[in-house]
Symmetry: C2
Subunit: 601 residues, 2 copies
């Protein structure tokens, strides 16, 4: 029996040598992706041996892994057996979606440089001989003990100042932001920050230790505004229709954030009033709805935001329940359809620093794309629709247990991988992309996306559909011709955006040195599949990088670093926005991009 | 018939030469004080002839008016008859209390230097070619048209930004405070400010044009907290007892301010959202209750304020309904019982600039006194009680129509002057002071305040009382021995305070070069009466100056001038506070000061 540890998931156990790493992982509930079911065919269960004897690489592995991967001790878990105690690194892309969400990006590659200073002071209590006011006593101590000159005290902090000082026996911890005291606590207080990325469909919330910069916990949740419409335009229309709607759309968002805060605090045994700073990002419409800004002008030409600059408000002004004196910082927007979340993504990608030609794509219900070509940055926003989120797809679903997330078809042999290995109940975005790519690879759909003959293709309600999974007693899961069409529209929108940016610089797509894929969907997709159906240009795979929730990462970077906030503002100012409505030959480009073929434009 | 104009009340009419100026004034509802009823005896109906032929001064006038007054064309209205068209100036002290309140201090001797800049800009609306966000469009116009660099926009202004810009057809008036836009309006907007002086008993509210510095209108109203106790200690106890009480005590104040704003706006045909700045003063307890600050430590030794520094908050944070983005500024406090209203009074008095020895006395339920001796400033607060406001006095009442406000007794001959000349219904503070002084002058009370014999003194319920007014069908108005005792306690508290300050500088009272009397009561009293009973030291009358509501004036000065706010902060920092509990030989001094005799200490 050998001790095996899976990192960074943090699971360990003792296993015999006969058991493959894949089986060991499964036993420890490490949700490794395995499309072929453990036969060395799909090449998805990649892991990296960090330490220990894991034997020689097999022929299957040599054909599925790249030269670089082989050199770095990458293995297919289904082909690997340990011969000693071992530590195994599981890269995020080998985990199924929910587990990947949990582990990714807990560490930030940014030096903490928070706006909030944490100062512990001992005060001299007032006496009849020196009946000094409490605020003066506090500032005097801050000056003599930390050299901090008197500034302001948040109004809510003023309201509890006298009782806190006395309860803490004149020995307190002060959270000071620039020149303003925003919170007071007992000397053991640890100040926390909140980062939130509010997407059209999903919300990611992070609790961060401001001093160390470490993410203590995170939560993913659905955007509850979805009851007002899956796409943002429907919600803008609702908000515009009545002030009641606008108020409800706002409170839905804030209540979701407040609930997430509650559960993050309970998980980490912290209290919400120690959260003394917050950074929130979202697209421009979300940003405006959250701040109760007017949205009318967002929904009609020329589609301008009310506010583009970064916004600092008291969190209480939007009923966000963290420390009463805390600020919330919203990163700047770029344009009506390129928001603060895009800025956060670009910040996380460090795209502004690149000297080469870099494309960053944040795929979602709206897909924002930015090209930095030798310092000139331009972004575009494409209405790619909610197909990737499972909407408008007959058996579409979100990335949840039982969702088919990866598919391989070799002849009649169909391999599927569901999230957590649960019996299949539907198809999530990356599964849909895989299916259609496999159908194309196997010539079951043609270059125009028309479905043809195959043993698994059947007629239904006058249309054709491909059978993905048949389970006795359950409904048969299929992908229909209509589903293929939905995907085509979505991917064409993205490709037109990429082409518009590239063309604006007088380039062709093969001049892109690097493509960064962000967002939940962009991170989980099989890039080869995306290339196969023409969603992404056919560039060498090593030019692609999948980044995880880069908007959430950018929000956290801005949370813990004053410089990063400044950088975000610079990015927003530098970024030149291309309005989709003004893309030349849009219709022709869209038709071309609609085809199911690899091409360079 | 000659045209006569009374200034600054602004009344005019045509009258024959036979009619005395006093009768002309009465006919025009100019409420001139006249205690003796127009017989040239009391010398209270002083007016100044500005232009026109008003004849020679009479012997009566020569004996009642000072050399300086005679040289400056002062006259007694009851003795004067015009011989041509004339303009007559009525000094505030010759008006009865309510009318004096209306006219006094509408002009400030301060150059307007408001924190709010008023900028009109024309914007370029966004287009598909230049789809710029509304905040950027606004800042761009401010930069090119006024050289103003981008700063912040108040959160509530952001929320209406887009609709206001479009409604005003991209031509707007901007209220900018330091670097923050706090209000937007159409180009004709005139920005207003609100000044409020919240006393324990009375509230004075002023509406001011920020650009000209002119006071457009003012309101005096009762402090509705009075239902929680006449003195401030009772209200502090109530606030401390439960958060509900504290909330109620706060909302009572703010509702009173909001109602005053409503009526000031309706009177001046302005709107509350054009009020873009506010300055509020009050004693420390009022200040804390208004800001919902903790009051527990104010009520127990060593009686310290939670907050002493000036406070800037959004008016909306205390539910004060002016422009949604407006700030409210509260002047700094000095100590637990010497508050922002005292600072405002000192600011209005310019006491800090004096090189001589100046005493400023703001008489109220609490009386704050400050001595500036060659640049050293020290203040003390005395619990003088509500007797001056009419409380605890059998026929006591506030300065309202029908209140006896001035009294003269010559032998058996009693002259009384009621406010607006209405039939007497009670005695207000200045009336009480006059009665007791007249009783003392006529030896009806002795040096210890004991009442003796006189045709108007009668027995009642085992005690003595002096009959002031008998009207058939109405209750007889009297001043009782107990009333005299109440006044003794009040005036003794004030005199002890004066003595403590003078003694702290090693001086005697006759070294005081000037005594400034502020507050409604201090302004309306007869200084000779106050000296007669030993409330004020017996110094030459020309060392006294009655200032009107100096706290309200100081608040308005701070409202229209950035320098004045800085000066207020300096005054608060410089002022050395003397705690009453630490006055040496307090009991002996109090007993001495309780006597009804003139003396220098």
């Amino acid at each position: 029996m050998f001790a095996i540890e899976f990192e960074p998931v943090g699971r360990r156990g003792e296993f015999p040598s006969e058991q493959s790493l894949l089986d060991c992982a499964r036993q420890l509930n490490v949700d490794l992706v395995s499309v072929c079911g453990g036969f060395g065919i799909c090449g998805r269960c990649k892991v990296q041996a960090i330490s220990g004897d894991v034997g020689e690489q097999t022929e299957d592995e040599k054909s599925r892994l790249s030269e670089r991967e082989l050199a770095q001790n990458y293995r297919l878990a289904c082909r690997t057996h340990v011969r000693s105690d071992a530590t195994i690194h599981v890269p995020p892309e080998s985990l199924t979606a929910p587990q990947r969400m949990q582990v990714e990006g807990l560490e930030l590659a940014v030096e903490p440089e928070p706006l909030i200073r944490n100062l512990v002071v001992r005060l001299s209590p007032p006496s009849l001989d020196a009946p000094e006011a409490d605020d003066q006593t506090l500032w005097a101590a801050l000056l003599t003990q930390h050299g901090v000159s008197p500034g302001g005290i948040d109004f809510r902090v003023q309201q509890t100042l006298s009782s806190v000082l006395r309860k803490a026996n004149w020995h307190v911890c002060v959270a000071i932001r620039e020149t303003e005291i925003v919170a007071l606590g007992d000397p053991s207080s640890r100040w926390l920050g909140l980062a939130a990325d509010i997407g059209t469909t999903k919300i990611a919330v992070y609790l961060v230790d401001l001093e160390s910069g470490k993410t203590l916990a995170s939560r993913g949740l659905m955007n509850p505004q979805i009851s007002y419409g899956e796409d943002i335009i429907a919600r803008l229309a609702a908000a515009e229709k009545s002030p009641q709607n606008a108020a409800k759309l706002q409170s839905l968002l804030v209540e979701a954030l407040n609930e997430a805060v509650e559960s993050l605090c309970s998980e980490t045994r912290t209290v919400r009033c120690d959260i003394v700073d917050a950074v929130i990002v979202g697209n421009t419409a979300i940003h405006h709805m959250l701040l109760k800004l007017p949205v009318r002008q967002l929904g009609m030409a020329p589609y301008v935001p009310a506010v583009r600059s970064a916004v600092d408000i008291k969190a209480r002004d939007i009923e966000l329940h963290i420390a009463p004196g805390a600020y919330a910082h919203l990163l700047p927007n770029i344009a009506g359809f390129v928001g603060a979340d895009h800025v956060a993504m670009l910040l996380a990608a460090g795209i502004d620093e690149s000297e080469s030609t870099v494309l960053a794509v944040d795929i979602g219900t709206n897909t924002e794309i930015c090209l930095n070509h030798r310092g000139t940055m331009r972004s575009v926003s494409c209405a790619s629709g909610p197909a990737f989120e499972g909407a408008h797809i007959k058996f579409g679903m979100r990335a949840a247990p039982g969702a088919i997330e990866h598919v391989r078809l070799t002849g009649d042999n169909l391999g599927i991988q569901t999230i957590e290995g649960k019996p299949p109940v539907g198809v999530c975005g990356s599964g849909l992309l895989d299916v259609v790519a496999q159908l194309r690879l196997n010539n079951i759909i043609d270059g125009m996306g028309r479905m043809g003959r195959h043993p698994r293709v059947r007629s239904s309600n006058g249309g054709l559909e491909f059978v993905l999974a048949e389970t006795p007693g359950s409904e048969t899961i299929t992908i229909s011709q209509k589903d293929v069409r939905e995907l085509q529209l979505a991917k064409a929108a993205i490709r037109v955006g990429i082409r518009a940016l590239v063309e604006a610089e007088g380039l062709s797509e093969d001049k892109i040195d690097r493509i960064l894929l962000a967002g939940a969907f962009g991170t989980y997709i099989d890039v080869e599949s995306a290339i196969e159906i023409g969603m992404l240009p056919p560039l060498p795979l090593d030019r692609f990088r999948q980044m995880g929730n880069a908007a959430g990462t950018g929000a956290r970077m801005a949370l813990i670093s004053r410089s990063m906030r400044g950088k975000a503002q610079q990015i927003a100012l530098r970024d030149g926005y291309i309005e989709v409505g003004r893309i030349r030959d849009f219709n022709r480009k869209f038709a071309e991009s609609n085809s199911m073929t690899k091409f360079i434009a």
